[in-house]
Structure formats: structure tokens, C-alpha cells
């Protein structure tokens, strides 16, 4: 009996999704598609279309632009990581961007008032956490849908930000705060860091494989194990090489990766993270096995508040200023939620990952970055980014479709 029928491409995609690294595949494909388009197709098109051009300029893929892209996506990514955590629960947070705005505004005001910058950072992180947790309490204990609580939060925090910043904006010149976005790691430090990460990743993976063998558990194919290590290694070294070839690795990127790694580890590898997934998958089941669903919910909102505060600090650092439009009034909210969702995190809870949110943020960032390079009119850009967004997510959708 031919039980090994030929697998279609979509079957393969679907099987791949099940693996730990496979969940990255759709969003990576989307990213690759966008990069190919902006990085290769557009320049070639322009070159052939423009008789005056002397040579093709691959600006989008230049190391300088990649550096820009990372910096431009950092704030969205920070918020998206936080939002992913509440999305995993099946909740939503519409107030994250406004929270970031309030925290950034507060940071600016505090620094202006002479509070040491590091202490101001700690204070706003605390404030952000409390703002998130307060909304979490309303969701968990009063039972108001998170959409409404955070919509109210959005309104309230917008108002609060206007109170804190009566003129709507403020310069932030403090060197400590500006440092997050300005300080660059020395080239060698970047290489050392990358090497350390790759080594640690390889050792952990191989040790786990060894333990599995010892305990008689099913093994991952060694192709997969080595493939993962190789993939991770190539990614790390390529990133460091690219960034070094322009300036070098910025502190902001390192911090973002470290925070994401921490949140990622907490959500996937601790009892707490497990309970987030359990609540997202089946809240009633989670409650019945004795998990404190309410407390988990509050803590998840606290995390998104904290991440929003960090996003606010990063934003203040990168923008060198705090303004209402950059946070509360702008497109940051939809972009961060979009980043999480493009990463494949479900709005219905129980499925997703913070790493994918980072990739989703890169997708969103690449769109804006690439379109800005292309010089289209603003109406065209809007329409175009809508279309590309759809294409990017269609890959994910098709790889999952029919699995019901």
C-alpha cells in the first residue's frame, strides 16, 4: 500500500510549520519577497527604464540602508513583542502606543526636571508596567473585553500625554537616553557577541539531542539540528557583517534582541509561558487545571505595559524628542499590531511567537523604507503598502489553509 504518496509543496510547507523553526518560514518568505522586490527588482527596473543611469544602484540592500532599516523598525518591534504576549492570551492591546507615548513624555519631563536619566528610565518602566497592569485588572477581574478597556486606555492615555506635554513635543538631549540609539558596539565586540550566541545555541541544541537519545525519546533528524545551527549562525554573522560594514552593531539592536530573547524564553520555556499559551488555547481548561487565569492576564498586560515603556524610551532615544504624533497620534499602534499579526500570531490566542513579531516588524519597516526609496506619491505608497501587506500574509495563510 502506497502510504508515502508524493507530498505537494503546500503539504511540505505545512509539515515544516510544525517544527520549531518552521513557523518562521512564511514570514521569512514574505520578507525575502519584499527585499527581492525593493532590493533587486526596483533598481533593475529603474536602470532599464532610465537611459541616463550609468550604473545600477542597489540602495535598498546597501549596508547603510539595512542599518537604517533595523533602527527604523526597532520601536515597532519592541511594541510588537509586548503585544504578541497579550495576543497569545487572545486579548488585544490598543493602548500600547499611547502607553509608550505617555512613558516617553514622562521620561522627557523627568529628565528636564533634573532626575538622573537612568533613574528616569526605571521610573517610566515602572509607570508603564502599572499602566498595563491596571488595564489587565479591568480585563481580568471586572471582565470587560480587552478591546474596550484598551480603547478606553488609548483615549485616556492620549489625554494624559497631552497633559504631560502641553505643547505636544519636547526635545530629549540627555546623552544617556540618546545613547541607546547612538552608541555603537566596537566591531570586534559585535563579532564576539555573534560567535558567543551561535556557540551557545549549538551547544544547547546538541546537548538536548544527546539527552533525548539517553532518555529514549524521539530524536530530531540531525539534518534538522545542524540545519538550525547553520541557519542561525549564517543569520547572526551576516547581520553583524552587514552592520559592521556600515558603522557597526548599534546598542539598540543588541538590547532589542536581548529583551526579545528574554521574553521569548519566558513565553516558551517556563511554566508561566506555558500557562499563557494554555489560557490562549482554552481559558476554561487552564482555569480548571488550577492556573490563576486572572493573575496571568494581569501579568501579561503588565508585560505589554513594560515593553511599551521600553519602546517609549527607545523612541525618545532614536527620535531625540518626544512628540504626540510619533506615538499616540500616529500609525505606531496599527503597525505594531500588524507586525505581530504578520508574524503569524493569531488574534484568537494560543498561537504565535515573539521572534515572529520581530520579523513582522521588519516586514512593516521594509515596506516603509523601500517605498520611501522608490519615490512614489503618498497616495500610491499607501495603496502599494496595502497590497504588499496582503501578499506577505497570503503566504502564511496559504501554508496554513485546509489544515482544518
Amino acid at each position: 500500500m502506497s502510504s508515502d504518496l508524493k507530498l505537494t509543496f503546500i503539504d511540505r510547507l505545512r509539515i515544516m510549520r510544525e517544527t520549531r523553526f518552521g513557523a518562521f518560514v512564511p514570514v521569512l518568505l514574505a520578507l525575502a519577497a519584499i527585499w527581492t522586490y525593493f532590493g533587486i527588482a526596483v533598481p533593475i527596473w529603474n536602470y532599464w527604464g532610465d537611459s541616463d543611469a550609468e550604473n545600477i544602484r542597489f540602495i535598498f540592500l546597501s549596508s547603510r540602508n539595512i542599518y537604517n532599516l533595523f533602527m527604523q523598525s526597532a520601536v515597532i518591534a519592541t511594541l510588537a513583542v509586548g503585544i504578541t504576549v497579550v495576543l497569545l492570551l487572545g486579548d488585544i492591546d490598543l493602548s500600547a502606543a499611547a502607553t509608550a507615548g505617555v512613558c516617553a513624555a514622562l521620561l522627557g519631563v523627568l529628565v528636564l526636571a533634573g532626575v538622573p536619566a537612568w533613574m528616569a528610565c526605571l521610573i517610566v518602566m515602572g509607570v508603564g508596567t502599572v499602566m498595563g497592569a491596571a488595564q489587565g485588572v479591568l480585563v481580568a477581574y471586572v471582565g470587560i473585553p480587552s478591546f474596550v478597556v484598551t480603547l478606553a486606555g488609548l483615549l485616556g492615555f492620549q489625554g494624559l500625554m497631552q497633559k504631560i506635554l502641553p505643547t505636544g513635543n519636547l526635545n530629549v538631549g540627555d546623552p544617556f537616553i540618546r545613547g541607546f540609539a547612538r552608541v555603537l558596539l566596537p566591531d570586534t565586540a559585535g563579532w564576539a557577541l555573534a560567535t558567543a550566541c551561535v556557540l551557545a545555541f549549538a551547544v544547547l541544541n546538541l546537548r538536548k539531542q544527546g539527552q533525548r537519545r539517553q532518555k529514549g525519546l524521539e530524536l530530531e533528524s540531525s539534518v534538522a539540528v545542524w540545519g538550525q545551527v547553520a541557519f542561525f549562525g549564517v543569520l547572526m554573522f551576516a547581520t553583524v557583517a552587514t552592520l559592521n560594514s556600515y558603522r557597526s552593531v548599534p546598542l539598540l539592536v543588541v538590547l532589542l534582541m536581548a529583551i526579545t530573547a528574554l521574553v521569548g524564553w519566558v513565553t516558551t520555556s517556563t511554566p508561566y509561558g506555558r500557562s499563557i499559551f494554555a489560557v490562549g488555547g482554552n481559558q476554561e481548561s487552564a482555569r480548571r487545571v488550577g492556573m490563576n487565569v486572572k493573575r496571568i492576564r494581569v501579568s501579561a498586560f503588565a508585560i505589554v505595559g513594560l515593553m511599551a515603556a521600553i519602546g517609549g524610551i527607545f523612541g525618545a532615544s532614536r527620535f531625540g524628542s518626544v512628540s504626540y504624533t510619533a506615538f499616540a497620534g500616529g500609525s505606531l499602534l496599527l503597525e505594531s499590531i500588524g507586525a505581530a499579526v504578520i508574524g503569524g500570531t493569531s488574534l484568537f490566542g494560543g498561537r504565535g511567537s515573539v521572534w515572529n513579531a520581530i520579523l513582522g516588524a521588519l516586514v512593516i519597516g521594509s515596506l516603509g523604507n523601500g517605498l520611501d526609496l522608490s519615490g512614489a506619491s503618498s497616495a500610491d505608497k499607501l495603496m502599494f503598502s496595502g497590497a504588499i501587506l496582503l501578499l506577505a500574509v497570503a503566504i502564511d495563510a496559504v501554508s496554513r489553509s485546509g489544515s482544518t
Binding site: L217, T270, A278, R287, V289, G350
Partner: protein
């Protein structure tokens, strides 16, 4: 109507878990109207009744999944308070829900350890919730539990529960409850979806639990299974007690009659 005299008297072992006067209302529906119930250590108490009699509701109340509108709980005759599943867990009560309560987005191993995940040692400085999971340990545990219940078609403990067959899911729910450290095990129609061999295993597990001094509550519509494992049989009807019999003093037919028509039509050889 007072049934106290019809329940087991002094000859019965002292109850480990006892509840009395449990009322539970859902909006306008009175699912339980003053139910008394008890189970002793080392005994299998069967709970039977027609569909919608209130068996599952009573179980959920005992497990803290529903808060009773009224009623008292006693463990070893000491009054206790059970309003959340956490309370029940703390009192050593484990339960297999009729609707299983599994998380479809998690894999078999994760579901089996849900709520009591093993963590790696050596991270004592962190709060328990934030220590690293010992997922290998989880898989080993899951594999053993599944093997014990003879669910041979389950290829991998890393398969998502969302893709499992009805019987496979039920086996996981049972494995989760009986694998935990506890004094009371409640099984709500645990073998409904199980195959012949697996049902056999579950009945054996139930007997083993009784022999190790657990208090077991067993809900089923299958009279044969009940008469095989139960020591006593408690009949519910329309959210109230009908009566409790010793298994050796009654017959399946009598129980069926009591379930469907109440006592008036049933026999009278109640303990």
C-alpha cells in the same frame, strides 16, 4: 423528602470528602437542589443518573470549577472552602472532566503536565513560575502514561492535541488526572470514547487507585462497568438525591429504574 436514612450508615467507612446541601443555579436553571454526597478513602463511589441529572455539575462543584450557590464541604469532616479549581487542587482533588478540558493548541506532553509542569532543578532563586521547564522530563512522563493506557495509535507525544481522535484525547485527560499526587480522583464518564482494551485499562487503574487508599468517584452510564468497580452507587435525579446503594445489595435494573423514575417506582432495599 429526606434521604439521610437511606444513605450508608455507621457501617460505612468514614467519608473522606463530604458535601451537603449543594445548590447550583445557572440563570433560571436549577441544576442542583440540595444534594448530599460523600466518598471515603479506599472506596469507589459511582454517581449515576439520567442525562442532565446534574452529575457533571456536582463534579464541577466538587472540583471548584463551578462555585456552588449554597452548600458545605468537608474533608475528613473538617469544613473547607472550595470555590476555585485551585482550592480543590490544594485539597488533593483531581478530576477528569466530561468535556476533557484539554488545550488543543498544545502538544500531548504539555497537556499531560498542564498546571504542574516539572521544572529543572538548580534555579531555586527564581519564582517557580519562571524556572525553566524540564520538557524532556515532561515527554518521558507523557510517554509512560500513554503507554500504560495502551493508546498504541498515538505516534508522538509531541503531536498537538487538536489533531487527536476522541479516544486519544480522553486517554490524555485520564492520564493527567491519575498521574497527579492526590487523595480524591473523580472521573466523569472516563471511558465514553475509549476502545475495549483502553476501557479495561481504565477500570484497572480505578481499582488500583482504590487499593492505594484513594477516594474515587466514578460517573458512567455503563452499568456493567459500574457494577464491576463501584463499592457504592449514588443516584441523582433532576438535581436531587434519590438514594445510595451498596453495589452488592442492588441490581442494574433497580438502579436504572431509580435513575429514570425515582424511588417511588424503585425497589426498597436501600442501605
Amino acid at each position: 423528602m429526606s434521604f439521610e436514612n437511606k444513605t450508608v450508615g455507621h457501617t460505612a467507612p468514614p467519608p473522606h470528602l463530604r458535601v451537603s446541601g449543594i445548590h447550583k443555579r445557572f440563570g433560571g436553571v436549577n441544576a442542583l437542589r440540595g444534594v448530599d454526597f460523600e466518598v471515603a478513602r479506599g472506596e469507589v463511589m459511582a454517581l449515576v443518573g439520567d442525562n442532565g441529572a446534574g452529575k457533571s455539575t456536582l463534579m464541577k462543584v466538587l472540583a471548584g470549577a463551578h462555585a456552588a450557590n449554597e452548600g458545605q464541604f468537608f474533608i475528613d469532616e473538617a469544613p473547607v472552602n472550595v470555590t476555585t479549581p485551585n482550592d480543590a487542587n490544594g485539597l488533593g482533588i483531581q478530576i477528569v472532566y466530561q468535556d476533557l478540558a484539554l488545550c488543543e493548541n498544545l502538544d500531548v506532553a504539555a497537556n499531560l503536565s498542564l498546571g504542574s509542569e516539572p521544572v529543572k532543578s538548580g534555579w531555586g532563586f527564581l519564582p517557580r513560575l519562571l524556572r525553566p521547564l524540564d520538557d524532556l522530563e515532561m515527554e518521558v512522563k507523557a510517554k509512560n502514561a500513554i503507554d500504560r493506557l495502551q493508546v498504541k495509535t498515538l505516534q508522538s507525544v509531541r503531536a498537538k492535541v487538536g489533531g487527536l481522535s476522541g479516544g486519544q484525547r480522553q486517554a490524555i485527560a485520564i492520564a493527567r488526572a491519575v498521574g497527579a499526587d492526590c487523595s480524591v480522583v473523580m472521573l466523569d464518564e472516563p471511558t465514553a470514547a475509549l476502545g475495549v482494551a483502553q476501557t479495561r485499562q481504565v477500570l484497572d487503574v480505578v481499582k488500583r487507585l482504590r487499593d492505594t487508599g484513594h477516594a474515587v468517584i466514578y460517573i458512567s452510564h455503563n452499568m456493567r462497568d459500574i457494577f464491576e468497580v463501584a463499592d457504592r452507587i449514588c443516584v441523582l435525579r433532576h438535581g436531587g438525591n434519590v438514594a445510595t446503594w451498596r453495589t452488592e445489595d442492588t441490581t442494574p435494573d433497580e438502579i436504572v429504574v431509580a435513575m429514570t423514575r425515582g424511588l417511588d417506582a424503585g425497589a426498597n432495599n436501600v442501605v
